[in-house]
Structures are given as C-alpha cells and as structure tokens.
C-alpha cells in the first residue's frame, strides 16, 4: 500500500512538472491565446464545454471500444489458426501482411464512401489499425513455447487441443496482452482518423470544429480529454492483464 501511494506521488509530480513548464513557456514567450493558451484558459474551456465534451467522449470511447473488441475477437483466433495449421498460414498470412502495407488511415475516405457518415467507418478504421499487432504478438507468443513442452504433453497422452489449452495458450498470454496494449492506443488513433474524415460526432469532430474556429483553448481541452481517454483505456487492459497473468515476471511486485 505504501508503494502505491509512493507511485501515485510520482505520477502526480510528473504531471505537475508538465503543467508548470507549460505555464512558464506561455508567460516567458508571451504566447497569444490562439497559438498556445496556458493551462488556465484550457481548464476554463474544459469547464465551460464540459457537457458537450463529455457527450463526444462517450461517442468516441464507444467507437474505440467496438473497434478494439472486434479486432481482438478476430485477431486472436486468426493467430491461433495460423499457428495450428501450416496450410492456413500459407493461405492467410501473406494477404494479411499485404493489407498491412496499405496505410490504414488512407482507407478512411473509402470507408466513408462505403459505409456512410455513421459510426461504422470509424469502427472499421479502428479495427483495421488495432488488428495487426494483436495477430503478430499472439503468433509470437504461441510459437515461443519450448518444443520439449509439447513432447511432454504427447508423452502424457494429451490430445493436441488439450496441450494447446493447458500449455500453449497460457504460455502465450503475456505476449497477447502486449499486443492488446499496443492495439489499445492504435484503436484510439483509428477512431479519431475516422472522425476527422467525416463525422458530426466525437472528439475528432470537436477537434476539427475547434481548429476551424481558431478556438485553441477548446482544442487543447479536447486533447487533454483525449489523452485521458487513451490512458484510461490502456490501464484498463493493464488491470485485466494483472488479473489474467499474476504469475508472469512483468507482474511480480515482490522481489525474489
């Protein structure tokens, strides 16, 4: 518990330093409001527009979550299939890598054409961009098991599905969570890109509006909320990770 308070203290401290240097820069160079507002005006803008920012935050959060969950739900089973079957690997892996060479952000305008201005194209971009790191990390995790472990499973008379569930999959969980964490940040980028291209809702829409009106204080307020959203999302996955793999080296709190 003491360690946790200690940790919190340092986190708060690092934020305090960031805000203080921000204020110093604004005053030192006498920055005009429309270029770089200080922390004060930004929080005023945040308070004044709180209701609208909050409603747009829910919208973006739902989009990110949908894209992320679909990405995980497709990527993990796909990675399993690729690891289990060499035939499926030859069939699925090359086209998957090929689609990754297309910048997914560049697909957003196409998705608008296909799916309209609703939530679907934003979820699609979030999905596409979050998908790849989960597949790659799951494959690496599943492949990194000691071959002797699988021999041991065979000598225990275990059918392949049981060796997979009891040995391979738990062994791969730390790598899968690594992929999920990277994907969580990318899903936010994807949802936002979708909102930039064509939307009348979400934090991305709010950013475009604020920028168009040269309302830089609102722009910064939105950015603060956006980074808070991305962080909340990242830590949500960290909490899930701590629950799922308390045994892993990355989760051990007490020294040996």
């Amino acid at each position: 518990m003491h360690a946790r308070i200690h940790h919190l203290f340092w986190t708060a401290g690092s934020f305090a330093i960031v805000f203080a240097s921000w204020e110093v820069v604004v005053r030192l160079f006498a920055m005009p409001q429309y270029l770089l507002p200080g922390p004060g005006p930004v929080f005023v803008a945040l308070a004044k527009n709180f209701a609208i920012i909050l409603s747009q935050t829910w919208w973006t959060a739902a989009t990110v979550l949908a894209g992320f969950i679909i990405a995980a739900a497709v990527a993990v089973p796909l990675a399993m299939a690729i690891v289990i079957s060499p035939m499926l690997e030859r069939l699925l892996y090359p086209p998957m890598v090929a689609t990754q060479s297309i910048p997914k952000i560049a697909l957003a305008p196409l998705f608008i054409v296909w799916f309209g201005f609703g939530v679907v194209p934003k979820v699609a971009v979030a999905f596409l961009i979050a998908f790849f790191p989960i597949v790659i990390d799951t494959i690496v995790g599943l492949r990194s098991i000691d071959p002797a472990m699988l021999q041991l499973a065979r000598s225990m008379g275990a059918p392949p599905h049981r060796a997979f569930l009891k040995m391979r999959l738990p062994h791969a969980l730390p790598a899968i969570f690594g992929g999920l964490k990277v994907a969580s940040s990318l899903a936010v980028v994807g949802a936002l890109t979708g909102e930039f291209v064509g939307s009348d809702k979400g934090l991305g829409y709010l950013l475009v509006q604020a920028s168009g009106n040269l309302n830089t204080a609102l722009l910064f307020a939105t950015l603060v909320v956006l980074s808070a959203l991305a962080m909340a999302f990242f830590y949500l996955i960290e909490v899930l990770e701590r629950i799922a793999i308390p045994w892993h080296a990355s989760q051990r709190t007490h020294p040996l």
């Binding site: 000691d146 002797a148 472990m149 021999q151 041991l152 499973a153 065979r154 000598s155 225990m156 008379g157 275990a158 049981r162 060796a163 009891k166 040995m167 738990p170 062994h171 793999i245 045994w247 892993h248 080296a249 051990r252 040996l256």
Partner: protein
C-alpha cells in the same frame, strides 16, 4: 587395483566390460534392435544420428546412456518414448512395438518445463489433467510425493519462487505421480550446480530403490552415470553407436563413499580412456 577391490567387495567380478549384449533376448522390458536414425538437414542431405544400436534393458534396471554431446543419446531416448520413429530397426516395450508416443511413462528433461502459472502442486497434478483425468482423487498422493522430496512447505509456491534444484524435484514428482513403470531422464541435472546435483543424485537413487522403476538416464557426466547405474552404455560420437557396456556391481545404497571406492574410480578411469581412444577427450 582390481585385486583390492575384489577383497573389499567380496564379489569375484566388480566390473565387467562387455562389447554388446545379446539381442532379441525375450523378457527384456525394452528391446532396441538395430536402431538407426537419420535427420534431414537444411541443405537436403541427411545426418546419421544413431547407427545400429542394439540394446536390451531389463525391468527395474537403471541404465545410463553416456556419451559426448550430439552422440544421439537423446535421440535414442525419444525413440524409446515413441516421440520419434527410427529410420530403421525396431523398438519394443514389453514385447510390443513402439509406434506412437508411449504414455505409460514419466519423462524429465534438462529444462524442468514447469508451468509458470501453476503452483508446485498444480504442476505435479497436470500429469492427470493432460490425461483427461480428475485431479482431486490424486491430490493427497501428490502432496505426499512433494513432501517426500522435501518440498512440503512449497506446494503452493510458484516455480519462479523456487531454486533450480527445487524446480527439478518438482519435475521429478510430476514424472512419478502416476506411478509409471518407466522413467526417462534426459540430462535432468545438467543445469544444476555441483552440490545440488550430488544431492539430487542421492535422492534419485533413493526413489529408484524404493520404487524399482526402469530408468533410462541420459548424461554426459561419467561420474553421474557410474554412481547411479546398474549398467553404463558408453556411446561413440556421431553417429551414435554402442561402444562398450559397463556393469556396475557396487552395492546399494551408494553413499558419498561409493565415489572413493576403488571399483568406482576404476570404471571412471576406464571410461575416460575410452573417451580418449574415441577422440572425445584429448590427453
């Protein structure tokens, strides 16, 4: 030297060296007849790992396969386990050909292969879960076994909380919990420090003496092989062939004094010379 060892032990022959045992002899627990195994390499050619090995292993016998790295001793162990099939020759256990992984078996590898997400008890009980059996009926027996290797206080610890020697003890428990007649060990103590290793050798001997399982033990330590075994099978460098078989008639249980026994040092000496002859050790 040999005269002295005879008087000490009171047996006419302390150490016998035999070129090879008779093959096709029925009643042996494990029979290997003219086993060869070649592996294809990346450039498309093939390497002969094991070449024409004839070996019979009796029930309750402790046999070591001793040889330099890459001599095919681990390959031979995998063939006995049914994990790989020989390129030619036949392998039988209890008269039946080994065509699939032989599951009435316990295996211990150099790497303990414990599951990080399971406690010591959970790691031992995985043996039953992998066989599709319930773990509950075996819990008490597992706890007794864990206690017998001195780990009763650690049964709910995770592998990363244990030392290397403790981890390997858990791996041995996992290999014994279902009471298999055959125990295969592939350099199980290879990664341990000398003191832990000596202790585990004594512990293994005790386990073997009370359970009388057939043990096939792969090692490249001459001392370890001689200390533990009824017979030591010395293999040639690749391709692995049986070079010579030493029968170790030292009385059991063998304690630390056994290592100073003239018969013990004599075999060590002879195996060393054999390795020198084969070019494994250059004098």
């Amino acid at each position: 030297m040999s005269g002295r060892s005879q008087t000490v032990l009171g047996t006419p022959t302390v150490v016998r060296a035999v070129k090879s045992v008779a093959t096709g002899e029925h009643g042996a627990f494990i029979e290997l007849n003219a086993i060869s195994k070649s592996f294809s390499t990346r450039d498309g050619s093939s390497t002969l790992a094991v070449d024409g090995v004839d070996l019979d292993i009796g029930a309750s016998e402790f046999v070591s396969l001793l040889g330099p790295s890459g001599c095919g001793k681990s390959t031979l162990l995998s063939i006995i386990a049914g994990l790989i099939q020989p390129t030619s020759g036949e392998a039988h256990i209890e008269g039946k050909p080994i065509l699939a992984p032989y599951t009435n078996i316990g295996i211990v590898f150099q790497n303990d292969l414990l599951l990080d997400w399971r406690t010591v008890l959970g790691n031992v009980l995985i043996q039953f879960e992998m066989r599709g059996m319930k773990r509950e009926p075996h819990r008490e027996r597992a706890r007794a076994l864990i206690s017998s290797v001195g780990l009763s206080e650690f049964e709910s610890k995770y592998p990363w909380e244990l030392s290397g020697g403790m981890r390997q003890r858990v791996a041995i428990c996992r290999a014994l919990i279902h009471d298999p007649p055959l125990l295969l060990m592939d350099e199980p103590f290879g990664a341990l420090d000398a003191l832990t290793r000596a202790q585990l050798q004594i512990d293994l001997q005790n386990i073997w003496q009370s359970s009388r399982k057939t043990v096939v033990f792969v090692t490249h330590s001459i001392e370890e092989a001689v200390f533990l075994s009824d017979r030591v099978i010395v293999m040639t460098p690749r391709p692995g062939r049986v070079r010579e078989i030493f029968t170790i008639d030292l009385p059991r249980p063998r304690g630390l004094d056994a290592r100073a026994h003239p018969a013990f040092t004599e075999v060590i000496h002879r195996v060393n010379h054999l390795f020198e002859e084969m070019g494994v050790i250059r004098g």
